[in-house]
């Protein structure tokens, strides 16, 4: 690549025990250099005391997080944190390893001072370099099985990669593949995760093209990685992108047209039949139709003929030795115990519920009964059938006050979770359903896209309509409550505003006397439903 390095580091530069050697690659945010271990000081001994010994060579990823960096980017800190967090929590055979993180302390070089350095397992090259080679690598299917295995390990542990593409698949000295670059990775919260608003156009699923973006970033599901895998598989097996077009923009438009149903998917005739089915099931128009990662892995392994312990075809080894000369002085890294260790290890972890391989969250399966358990207690009588609706509705709102426990407390106080509540006597229209909506008011909040419904909804009002609308309405009202001068818990005030209006609450300077009982009930249930340690 000819683009300038995002972070120039001179050869021979010392960071901790590492001495920088040749540049390896650069991305938009950071640059990666080969480094060799030169120091042997106590720092090393203490640092690595409880970890495995540091290798002789590593890849150092420099991210310009210092304050003297010319282009100061606030979002960079967040990207770095995501990557480090993932490495800390997940160690899996198909994910590149992180040994350490360092911070450059060098006031003499303002461009480097304060930079974060990730010490990563050094790879031999990336899949994008392999793709540039002609003829196409014969090892494609075996590599795909390993990439898929990496995805399965990530998804299983509750993370989404968010930026799967050839440049982020690294090839190790033994020819095996590992996933890298977790800047965009995000941990799942329920059915989706929030990732940074960056993407690589050619690997972005159609539902994320021009998708809405909230303050927390864009919502992404594991199925986004599945789409990217489909694109990557097509590219690796046929040498062309699955969607037609000479430019990324043309392919993006083709993806949009395909998703809208105006165009069909025309995969390359070079694609073998079993792979055609797999790629087709990855590249479905909607995320809901895409194949799950587990099924995908099983089918990919069958198609690759790798079974449960991928063997590497000879062809790749042959190719690789030729590439070694190109990449210069690549030292073998980690005598890779990865092969044959992959899937079986991962399924073992699963059987035990949580364990060594996937430390951290996400190894227990989330069922409806425990959905959102960290924010909404499971033992206080919130009906299981509504948990998902309640938790997701609260997550859709950017205001921190709108929590699952608040929505649940409000529903409890309004209707005692009675979905069939019908009270035609109140006001002119009556109140209906689990959230006691007045139909003409619900009309403004019933649609997820924020547009009022064409007609006033007619009772009965289902929980699926009522609960998300409560989340939207509370979210709308939060900024309208006075910032100062109101007494009481803002969440309870919000519930009071739901019962009356923000104006009434603002004018009363708190909960109006008439609604004290209601507010007390909400406050009681709010406390009851909030897990200990959560505020």
């Amino acid at each position: 690549m000819t683009e300038p390095y995002a972070v120039p580091v001179p050869k021979g530069y010392r960071v901790g025990v590492w001495e920088v050697r040749e540049p390896i690659a650069t991305g938009a945010f950071g640059s990666v250099y080969e480094a060799r271990r030169v120091g042997d000081d106590e720092a090393l001994a203490s640092r690595a005391a409880d970890a495995e010994a540091l290798p002789r060579t590593a890849a150092l990823k420099f991210l310009p997080t210092g304050t003297g960096t010319p282009r100061q980017l606030t979002h960079l800190r967040e990207l770095v944190d995501r990557e480090v967090e993932l490495h800390r929590r997940l160690k899996q055979p198909r994910l590149i390893r992180m040994y350490d993180t360092l911070t450059v302390d060098d006031p003499a070089r303002p461009a480097l001072d304060g930079a974060t350095v990730l010490v990563l397992e050094k790879a031999e090259g990336s899949l994008s370099a392999l793709l540039a080679a002609d003829p196409r690598p014969a090892a494609g299917p075996a590599l795909l099985a390993q990439i898929c295995e990496g995805l399965a390990q990530l998804h299983h542990a509750g993370w989404v990669h968010g930026d799967l593409k050839p440049a982020n698949v690294l090839l190790m000295a033994d020819g095996s593949a590992r996933l890298a670059d977790f800047n965009m990775a995000a941990e799942m919260e329920g059915t989706h995760a929030y990732t940074h608003a960056f993407s690589t156009p050619d690997y972005t699923p159609p539902e994320l093209l021009w998708s809405e973006i909230g303050e927390r970033g864009r919502r992404i599901r594991p199925s986004a990685d599945v789409w990217a895998f489909g694109v990557l598989a097509h590219l690796l097996l046929t040498g062309s992108f699955p969607l037609p077009g000479a430019t990324p923009t043309a392919r993006r438009d083709a993806a949009a047209a395909y998703a809208r149903g105006t165009d069909d998917l025309r995969l390359s005739p070079e694609l073998p039949d079993d792979w055609r089915e797999i790629v087709r099931d990855c590249l479905t128009r909607t995320h809901a139709d895409r194949v799950g990662t587990r099924d995908l892995l099983r089918r990919v392994e069958a198609a690759a003929g790798t079974g449960r312990s991928p063997r590497l075809p000879r062809a790749l080894r042959g190719r690789r030795s030729r590439r070694t000369t190109v990449l210069a002085a690549a030292t073998a890294v980690v005598a890779v115990a990865a092969l044959g260790y992959g899937v079986s290890n991962w399924t073992d972890t699963d059987a035990r519920g949580s364990g060594a391989g996937a430390s951290g969250a996400g190894t227990t399966k989330v069922t409806a009964a425990t959905y959102g358990a960290s924010e909404l207690r499971t033992d206080k009588g919130v009906p299981v059938a509504y948990r998902r609706l309640i938790v997701d509705s609260a997550h859709d709102c950017v205001q921190p006050e709108v929590t699952p426990a608040l929505i649940a407390a409000l529903l409890k106080a309004e209707s005692d979770f009675d979905p069939d509540l019908s009270d035609p006597s109140v006001g002119e229209e009556g109140e209906y359903g689990i959230a006691r909506w007045t139909p003409s008011l619900l009309r403004w909040w019933i649609r997820a896209d924020g547009v009022p419904a064409k007609e006033t909804p007619k009772p009965p009002l289902s929980p699926a309509e009522s609960i998300p609308a409560v989340g939207r309405y509370l979210c709308y009202m939060e900024p309208l409550l006075d910032q100062k001068g109101l007494s009481g818990d803002r969440r309870v005030l919000l519930a009071a505003a739901y019962r009356t209006s923000t104006k009434v609450v603002n004018n009363a300077g708190g909960v109006p006397p008439k609604y004290r009982d209601y507010a007390a009930r909400v406050a009681h249930h709010l406390k009851e439903y909030t897990p200990p340690g959560k505020q």
Binding site: T74, K165, E215, P248, T249, A250, A256, R260, G450, L480
Partner: protein, 248 residues
């Protein structure tokens, strides 16, 4: 997944609330006087029965002039007179502007259809190609919406992370030296447009535009700051005349 928004000429019914028609790539909208056979009927004697067609084409759009003798002018309202002419019978003429106004000459009146193309891409500092991880937003730093966004973000960028956001009137005052025609309406229009451009999760702002604007401004600013759409060195757009060409 729309990429083009058409705002028809105002009618007497929607004084406060103008209809927006959202179009996805490949979708076609025909307009003309006749109620039947047109997706958008324009009730004016001077307009042809079948006047034309707008087709969304990726991030841009194309215009067909189906009238017999009228030339349509497509203006760039921020382009200092920049415009293109689409003669009678011309089919599928591409329009390059992010905002456009199609002016239909109609028996002495000029009717304007607005067309927005909020998905236009602009080169970011990091370049753009299919294999590079790119930010999901691309803003044109020469457009007025960028100046409005910068003015909204200014207090927080100047080092007060919890500073109150400027009111619309304060934004107008801040921008007036470089934009003499700035008004409450035009600034609010730009705020609404930014919400579309940055794909802010829509709130039911149609319900009532007054207080909701606060939430929208707040969301815009936090999004812009979080994703570095406006940085401290961008604040020069508030003091220097807006350059006519992309400078970065």
């Amino acid at each position: 997944m729309y990429s083009i928004i058409v705002v028809p000429p105002p009618t007497t019914e929607d004084e406060n609330h103008r209809t927006q028609i959202r179009m996805a790539p490949g979708e076609r909208l025909s307009f003309g006087r006749s109620d039947s056979g047109n997706d958008l009927a324009i009730a004016h004697e001077g307009v042809s029965r079948r006047a034309g067609e707008i087709t969304a084409q990726g991030a841009f759009w194309i215009l067909s002039n189906l009238s017999r003798e009228q030339t349509y002018v497509v203006e760039n309202p921020e382009g200092a007179g920049e415009h293109i002419k689409v003669g009678p019978g011309r089919l599928d003429a591409p329009v390059p502007f992010e905002f456009s106004r199609i002016v239909l000459p109609a028996a002495g009146d000029l009717l304007a259809i607005q067309v927005w193309a909020p998905r236009h891409d602009y080169r970011s500092a990091d370049g753009l190609d299919g294999a590079t991880t790119a930010p999901a937003f691309s803003v044109d730093r020469t457009k007025r919406y960028f100046a409005v966004l910068a003015a909204l973000c200014e207090p927080r960028l100047r080092g007060e992370p919890h500073a109150a956001l400027p009111t619309v009137d304060q934004v107008v005052d801040r921008l007036r030296p470089n934009w003499p025609a700035a008004s409450r309406t035009s600034v609010q229009w730009n705020i609404d447009y930014l919400a579309v451009k940055l794909r802010l999760k829509p709130g039911p702002e149609e319900a009532d535009t007054g207080p909701r604007l606060n939430g929208k401004k707040e969301s815009l600013v936090s999004l812009a700051l979080r994703f570095d759409l406006v940085r401290e060195d961008d604040l020069v757009v508030l003091t220097e005349p807006v350059p006519r060409r992309v400078a970065r």
